[in-house]
Amino acid sequence: MSRGADGVTMLPGERGVQTPFRRFVSDYCESPLAVVAFFIAVVVLFIAIFSPWIAPTDPYDLKKLSILDNMLPPGSKSMSGTTFWLGTDALGRDMLSAIFYGLRTSILVAVSSAVAAQCIGIVVGLSAAYFGGIVDTLVMRLVDIKLGFPSILVALILLSILGPGVDKIIIALIVAQWPWYTRVMRSTALAERNREYIEAAQCLALGRARIVFRHLLPNCLPPMIVIGTVQVAHAVAIEATLSFLGLGLPPTEPSLGLLIANGFEFVLSGNYWISFFPGFALLIMIVSINLVGDQVREVLNPRLQR
């Protein structure tokens, strides 16, 4: 990808008002694919948040379900006249609505575990970098041990102990993911600690807490944002996989993984839609988050000399 010497394309008259945020946005928009991915991610998020209001039917309201509508192929009409654009499952639930609700659960689990893991990572990584010595050694040994095992295995071990449930899978995902954040946070903080602006702040005799939280921490955030997006996508995939295996979420709170698992038994008889569409929604969500993460990394990477 070739760029002008200036590095940033600007409209005339805009030169005076270039904030870091604007530069970030204009750099980000260089890749049309990433822009499309961003909009898809926003739409998915919107659907997830507002699913109870925008879903055509409430798939878990037993009164509204009709068993006569079961296993209808995509596009069929129901007994009462509504169209099931993505078909229905074995209980006559509208797949489109079920996917909307499933997205909600999947995103809730992935985002809340990612946020918690990120907070733990920031605190632990920052302390490891700040205190050094035995704290650092202990933390990094723990991180190395954990990273020796695939996240899915760690989550699986925990869930086989804890049993299914939304809170349990969030705990499992946090345990599986905090080391990634911690490692990135520590290495970034170690690199930033020796930079001139920290030295300058020390020369100004600013307090320790102020240096760490006002100067060091904000400068460590860009890599954390990048790894955060990648890990959210990862969390969505792990949660779906565990739910598919029957270890993640209980059937009362179906995520996309559980919807796919429910449809799996009908695949061999050719009723593809029950498994296919939730999986496709999952795929779109993961790919768009990954593409956004990729472009954010490109833009924020100082080595690429923007």
Binding site: F149, I157, T241, L245, G257, G279, L283, V287, N290, D294
Partner: protein, 325 residues
């Protein structure tokens, strides 16, 4: 070097101890397996008898010592559900998982490295870009869903390949293998590809970035200037220098294959260890779950240890760093 290996081995033992403790005490907190095994009209005396027969009447820490003592002598206990020794149950399923994981490993190498090389040598061509875009997709696709798509497409729509179980097996040295029969080979293609897909994507990206970094180095220019054939430059000079990180990651990912075989085995009803674990978790078959997880943890720690040691053998820079620390 000896000190390094010793220190790593001791550390590994501590980790094994901690994780067995965690898994064992954790498993004891969920559900009483006896409830699933006895008939509904079983009274208190009959329940006590069942507990006694399974060794569940002892305090938890004594159960752990019994378990660890047995583990050290190679006895993994008896499955609650099957009533057979866990060791033989696991040995029975092991060949299926091993042959699946090794086939996937083989596919990863023969697909990943050539594709990554091609994309790295021609990064701006359509084929190169397609390969790299495909690798992003390979990363993002949830593997269980890909397995279902494989079943739908190749199994149900086209009817080309079988999608269920291992097919015909032959017995070699008391173990059953399916890759040596034509029918078994047809059964393994889809699961192996499914399992390998993420790893292939990973190896493609690693090889790609390795090639991109190395191709501008002076020794490559020099090899070209010397008039060596492009074939020799690529396969001897270039490949030799990018292979170290690939070897490490492949070694570590062998463990990943083991973990993800859980998913693939469930999707394709492959009668391996992963399916055994998932079934056992659902049936609260405690000895099987604990033994399996313990064995997997030990396997992982051994793999990590071997890879670390191999790495320091292959790359002198790592050795120097280790000596300093």
């Amino acid at each position: 070097m000896t000190v390094y290996i010793l220190r790593r081995t001791m550390q590994a033992c501590v980790v094994v101890f901690l994780i067995t403790l965690l898994v064992f005490s954790g498993i004891n907190l969920i559900g009483d397996p006896v409830d699933l095994l006895v008939t509904p009209d079983c009274d208190a005396a009959c329940l006590d008898q069942a507990h006694q027969a399974l060794g569940l009447d002892l305090p938890v820490h004594e159960q752990y010592f019994v378990f660890m003592g047995n583990l050290l002598t190679g006895d993994l206990g008896r499955s609650f559900v099957f009533g057979t020794p866990v060791g033989s149950l696991i040995l029975d399923r092991l060949p299926a998982t091993l042959e699946l994981a090794l086939s996937a490993f083989f596919l990863t190498i023969i697909c990943g490295i050539p594709l990554g090389l091609w994309a790295g040598l021609k990064p701006h061509s359509i084929s190169g870009r397609t390969i790299m875009a495909g690798s992003i997709l390979g990363f993002s696709l949830p593997s269980f869903w890909v397995g279902i798509i494989f079943i739908m497409f190749f199994g149900v729509e086209l009817g080309w390949l079988p999608v269920n179980g291992r097919g015909q097996t032959v017995e070699i040295g008391g173990m059953h293998f399916s890759i040596f029969t034509l029918n078994g080979l047809a059964h393994i293609i889809l699961p192996a590809f499914n399992l390998a897909l993420t790893q292939i994507a990973l190896v493609i990206r690693l090889t790609f970035s390795g090639v991109r970094e190395t191709i501008f180095m002076d020794f490559i220019k020099f090899a070209r200037a010397k008039g060596l054939s492009p074939f020799r430059v690529i396969f001897v000079h270039l490949l030799k220098n990018i292979v170290i990180p690939i070897v490490t990651v492949l070694g570590l990912e062998l463990g990943g294959l083991l973990a993800y075989s859980l998913v693939t085995e469930t999707v394709f009803s492959w009668p391996g260890l992963g399916k055994l674990l998932i079934d056992s978790i659902n049936l609260l078959d405690r000895p099987v779950v604990v033994s399996y997880l313990t064995l997997v943890v030990i396997a992982f720690i051994v793999i990590n240890l071997v890879v670390d040691i191999l790495y320091s053998v292959l790359d002198p820079r790592v050795r120097l760093q280790g000596a300093k620390a």
